[in-house]
Subunit: 131 residues, 2 copies
Amino acid sequence: MNIGAAAKQAELPTKTIRYYEEIGLIRPAARGANGYRDYSNEDLHILRFVQRARGLGFGVRDCRELLSLYRDRNRASADVKALAEQRIAAVERKIEELQSLRETLCHLVERCTGDDRPECPILSDLAAESQ
Amino acid sequence: MNIGAAAKQAELPTKTIRYYEEIGLIRPAARGANGYRDYSNEDLHILRFVQRARGLGFGVRDCRELLSLYRDRNRASADVKALAEQRIAAVERKIEELQSLRETLCHLVERCTGDDRPECPILSDLAAESQ
DNA sequence: CTTGACCTTCCGGCGACTGGAAGCCTCATA
DNA sequence: TATGAGGCTTCCAGTCGCCGGAAGGTCAAG
């Protein structure tokens, strides 16, 4: 299976697949007589695996870990769970950060009349001497 | 005032200040006889302004807009408000995305026993044929 | 006069791709 | 058999918002 077809199956751009190969996230694909990459069903599993892991917000480094656990028949599921829990914690931190940002922005927006006059508490606050 | 002192006042790394100058976000600082950048109080306001806008999640492009509004005495506060509201919308979209991510991850984690056995629904789901 | 903390510029790298150029390969159609 | 479209290959550059480091000039204190 050529890279284009594999890309469709895995819902990944061909560019991204080649990139993953380049950085060693996935193993180099087999090559046909014409030099084209040739993907097996096993390869497709791996590609989909990575696509989904990335979709869940795991970084490429995490994906390496996950893939090596995936391939390790002697893995402990606890290790996988730990990675996922770290991910959850990071997501939760990010959510809180964004919620606090949202709060601040909303307060600023509420105080701005939003008309054709130049006075604007948003700009004033940004430019203020302190805080 | 040298760049180091300005950096402390504005709570920005010196590298970042030079970078902002390089990309034309802020105007080139005046130079002393020794070639050192020299920052005025007005410059400090601008630096703090940018620091806070970035802290609120505005991109550099938005900061350009905000700075040009800040300098424009004929601005309409509506324009500033619109920028802030766009930012809020973007933040809210991101929050929802992350919350949905969190949900998915939590479901996966709940189903994983997290012991020393290799069976793991997280890995199974990532590798699954579809969905 | 030396030391160490500044300052200057320039270059390269980060993460995770994405776009584009230049050049093969393949396949369907005229 | 020629042609054209599309797919494949590699490599280089750019994205965003910086950060680290090297090589060298400047300055204030001891």
